[in-house]
Assembly symmetry: C2
Homo-oligomer: 701 residues x 2
């Protein structure tokens, strides 16, 4: 009964045999019992054949018109919407894309933007030329996917626009509605000024991703990943996939567990027994927080000399600002890392005095390639180096923002002797942040600054002497004249003072945070304009161990925990101290990579000596036997001839957020979770049924 569409050599498909002005009401033409119509017509002006097949329809209540998706064959496009230019004028083209709302111009011309993921092009029709097609296109809901055939023309001079494709338009000769969009879209992704809040858009991520900025971010992310892989590949790195179903290890943040249908009733090395015994203990995999363990074992084996992976990592933390439960790291590890050719027993604290020279070199190469190709910026061959001590002392942060000054100073020598003695007994110092009256950039911010934290003493140099706000009684007894003299304070200057431990600890100090707050204030008021060039910085020589704090408390039993992780090697100059028990003075061969005050990666030279590693586990971290046993494979691997090795991991999401100028890493991830760890689109996490949980030998509490 129905004639199947007949394919002609160049022509498209059958036309509807209806009045050109009412192309859509197929329901009036024929009805199948189920009211499902099989379709596939392209609508040409010349009616050729019966409309054969129609598909299910979407009826638009307003017009009572019915729109069908095209489910039959259609030709391949000849170009992208972003791939045409004036030199294509005169060509016949087939284009596909999303049809955006059209507009009428003058007496009978209609313009429609057609957009795909490569760009947008202007379609033009006039009522006189192809009325049926025009009516159809005018009625097609916005955001429908369509195919058009037409001819490329240069636009009249006064209509040309500077953007890509703005000098041409396509005169449409025929049109297929491939898939109609509903009229009740949750929001219009093309209407960038009226976007709903993020939560709503996350729920409809497949619509939000239609916005050019998100599409552009994903394209850039793919480009950067490709640059990374190509660079590493050219430098002899081997990509190796490490397990995601791994084992729980005591390494910091909580890990996600994965229940299995194996139970302790089953011998671990034979086929699982799923019969319930009296008390089968459920067994779990864990999702890795990083590929640290497998990559060290891989390098220890000698199977590869240089490893890399763009790896998915998982962390079950309480929702922190702008973090995801799963995130991506650029992970690499190298065997035989050495002191390179630059090694010198250097006294300079701004030089790289640790091992891992090869890691430093490859990371700098990588970053330079990325910034060259993506940003068009040439970075220096070697990045600046600073020790943790210097960073904390001068900037009050282990990831200092070096784009502006405002450095801190240790002013202890200039304080009255009683204060110095009291400080000495506590092994503390007093440091200062000075904002001179002549400092155009920071003077206003300094004047207005209201520190959030306590423990800061403020001195304003007034006409009639010093005005001191000293709630924490830092200068007790007072007597800052020597200080004022030593700092050469002048009227209008502001000085902030605070105490801290002499040996710096932690990630930032009070004055370091104040420094950032002042800079932030100066930026908002426009006094401070940060330089556009990115400031990269290596920070090295961190303390290897820190006093156990709340972050790692649930791990550390003794006084000490690892600043980064237990596999970091000490600086060789401090090895003796480490064995002698002078733990606080031991510096590690750890290096952080900082960009504009943000840490974008960190790594270290590892411990390759099994006896040293064992000593760190047992004597310093005081892990108990159970905890230590989780590292048996590592200790064995070290005992079986592991080379000296080191590596690094870069936070890829964060790197992309920086390169895309995105406010949140959610804008550089295709399907992100909310801050709470929920996925509004896929509606997870979700409940499971008892029957399912039963298979895993677990149940609801």
């Amino acid at each position: 009964m129905y004639r199947l569409p007949h394919v002609k050599s160049r022509a498209l498909y059958t036309a509807s045999r209806v009045s050109p002005f009412r192309p859509l009401s197929y329901l009036s033409l024929k009805s199948l019992p189920r009211s499902f119509h099989l379709s596939s017509a392209i609508y040409q002006d010349a009616s050729e054949q019966q409309p054969a097949l129609k598909t299910g329809s979407i009826t638009d209540p307003a017009s009572c018109r019915t729109y069908q998706a095209h489910t039959g064959p259609f030709p391949a496009r000849t170009h992208h919407c972003g791939g045409l230019s004036a030199k294509d004028a005169g060509s016949k083209v087939v284009l596909t894309g999303w049809l955006l709302p059209g507009r009428k111009v003058g007496k009978g011309f209609y313009f429609f933007p057609l957009k795909d993921s490569y760009g947008t092009i202007q379609l033009v029709l006039s009522g006189g030329v192809s009325p049926g097609t025009l009516d159809l296109m005018r009625d097609t809901p916005a955001e429908s996917t369509v195919l058009v055939e037409g001819i490329v023309n240069e636009r009249p001079a006064n209509q040309k626009r500077p953007q890509q494709g703005g000098d041409i338009e396509v005169s449409v000769t025929s049109f297929i509605l491939l898939n109609p969009a509903a009229r009740d879209l949750p929001f219009a992704p093309s209407d960038t000024r009226n976007l709903p809040n993020e939560e709503h858009r996350l729920r409809y991520r497949y619509l939000d991703l239609r916005r050019p900025v998100l599409s552009s971010n994903l394209h850039k992310r793919s480009e950067v990943a490709h640059i990374i892989r190509s660079t590493l590949h050219e430098n002899g790195f081997v990509e190796v996939e490490t397990p995601i179903l791994l084992k729980s290890t005591p390494e910091g943040a909580r890990e996600f567990l994965v229940p299995t249908r194996l139970s302790s009733a089953s011998p671990i090395s034979s086929a699982p027994s799923v019969q319930p015994s009296s008390a089968p203990q459920p067994l779990f995999y864990a999702l890795p927080q990083s590929p640290q363990q497998p990559k060290q074992l891989l390098i220890a084996s000698g199977a590869v000399d240089r490893y890399y992976q763009i790896a998915r990592c998982f962390r079950d933390e309480d929702g922190r600002k702008d973090r995801q439960p799963e995130f991506t790291q650029v992970d690499l590890e190298m065997a035989w890392v050495s002191w390179g050719s630059l090694h010198a027993a250097s006294k300079q604290t701004d030089s790289w005095r640790i091992g891992g020279a090869e890691v430093r070199t490859i990371v700098q190469t990588l970053i330079r390639n990325i910034w060259h190709k993506i940003e068009g910026i040439e970075l220096p061959e070697q990045f600046r180096v600073m020790t943790y001590g210097d960073a904390m002392g001068r900037f009050g942060s282990d990831k200092p923002d070096t784009r502006f000054g405002l450095e801190l100073r240790d002013v202890t020598p200039h304080l009255p002797v009683q204060i110095r003695e009291a400080l000495s007994q506590r092994d503390e110092i007093v440091e200062a942040l000075v904002v001179p009256a002549s400092d155009e950039t920071f003077r206003r911010a300094a004047a207005e600054m209201q520190p959030q934290e306590s423990g800061i003493t403020r001195i304003d140099v007034a006409e009639n002497g010093l005005r001191i706000k000293d709630d924490n009684r830092l200068l007790d007894p007072p007597g800052p004249d020597a200080l004022a003299h030593a700092l050469a304070l002048q009227q209008g200057d502001t000085v902030w003072l605070a105490r801290r431990t002499r040996i710096p600890e932690g990630g930032s100090t009070i004055l370091g945070r104040l420094r950032l707050a002042i800079a932030s204030l100066a930026q908002s008021s426009g006094d401070l304009t940060l330089p556009p060039a990115p400031h990269f910085l290596w920070v090295t020589e961190f303390p290897l161990f820190t006093h156990a704090d709340s972050d790692k408390e649930f791990l550390a039993h003794g006084r000490w925990s690892s600043s980064h992780h237990p596999f970091t090697a000490p600086m060789w100059e401090d090895i003796e101290k480490m064995y002698a028990g002078q733990i606080a003075e031991v510096r590690g061969q750890h290096y952080d990579l900082v960009l504009n005050g943000t840490e974008i990666g960190g790594g270290s030279v590892r411990v390759h000596d099994p006896i040293m590693q064992e000593h760190i586990f047992s004597k310093i971290l005081q892990l108990d036997d159970t905890e230590k046993s989780t590292f048996n494979h590592l200790l064995n691997a070290l005992r079986y001839g592991a080379p000296p090795h080191g590596g690094i991991a870069l936070g890829f999401d964060r790197l992309m957020a920086i390169l895309c100028r995105a406010e949140s890493i959610r804008d550089v991830i295709a399907f992100p979770k909310t801050g709470a760890g929920t996925d509004l689109l896929f509606r997870s996490p979700a409940p499971s049924s008892d029957s399912v949980l039963e298979q895993y030998n677990i149940r609801t509490r």
Copy 2:
């Protein structure tokens, strides 16, 4: 007290101040309280300075010698062990690697292989030149990691070997023991003839990976991944990462769940509440079996036109032969897939008569690039195409091995009329596999074949007539004369007959399996040598739906389940039948890629029409509301203007196993699990504690 090693410009480090013949007994020299010695000496003949620092020692009970790891600075290597050749003769080099057991030759020459992940080089020492170094190297346990400095020399002509590096040797002038290996290694990875069983080696995977074959496999895997990514990147594909923490969907095999600290007490869209309420229902993510859902949503959004990912997938199945709970797919999806320029309403069943032309093209390009670069083989531009019907009819398999003949035939027309009528009533046919006496390749195997399955009737053409073994009473009443005449049977021929449904179903038929068994037998006896060129084949036009079977039974409520997945589009010619309820006759736009009888990938053109998709869910698969609701996001995405799209996924582990000629995919995965899903190295899955489970609102049963 200790002198720190002093770095000279070219020389290496301090020497031990001990007799050159007893370089290792540092314990006799000094003792620290803890018996930990800090080390770092390189041993030169000329004693320069006191051995300053030593590290923890490994004492070898046999010799009572003590070996220390080197924890101080050392220079960078100048070459790899595989990177030297005769043109480097005369150069001074610094090399690092694993020291393998040495041998003495003649009066005073000692040779040691030094191996790294790039190759092996021969080190040579003579006792006269550097006795201290020689003794040290002789005593160093095999598999220790070392650094040597030396001079490259050409070997004497009679000692040259053909392998890489076999024409040179390195004369050692100095040596650092970087990390001693224990003497009690679980096994010697270099002793390839005495390897322990796989279970033992999996337990010590970091040692097993030291074997060149596994190292080579990992290198090849990295190379192939790079070819894949580069090819796709050059063809406009965008790499996008999809979530691993996803949502449970009813799609076949069981999924792994991931407990979270969120519970149903917490509103899903705000911060999690971890306070236990009266009955907080635990909430779970699920690990995806494939990126199918996210990739379709991504393409529907238009954010990218062509997506790819080398994706980790997870499947909690009962341990099947050679499968892993986590595995890797090369995953891709394309918007606007069409019928290309090759489309013709073709009657030829060996042509591509479905959509997805662009997917076919890119996969062929990908596979050709891989086979060109890795195997040095040029594959045809277009791969052969076969319909499911043909594949089943001629080869009895939906993944036919086309490297040999032995095709099946439908012999129903040649059977007696009563049999034909009985078959017709059951909608069945009888097919035959004929092995002529003249077939040199298969005659012997056919004669010896003992089929494992029942339901096969065997006819041997003997001198005095047909000998029929017909336990299943296929030929009832007997009367195969017409058959013998039609098949032109001769003495010595063998014929196998079996019944099957007229419309083929499933993955293989009885005779298809018999065909493979005969070929296998013929291979073992040497009669059949398979051609070396790889036989690639597309199989298309599968039935879209199958009767619910045990594999998918826990999903399908009605009579039908999807052959592949519910998102596969029907061939447009069968759309009408689908809506009319003639489900068995509906063919899908699915395509499998087969290589030498193994399926290496499969994909399809998807349903882009939301009404059709809804119809499939509700009317054909009869999903209930809960099951359907898990696909709401997909239905919405289709309603909001989704383009026609299609894609494919290739099994990357399996592809690598084929390219590496590996017996098991475990040999192409760095850290694989056992068949039972256990990780012998990391000892997972493992128990968890009640206190940990409590946070997830679950407990042991």
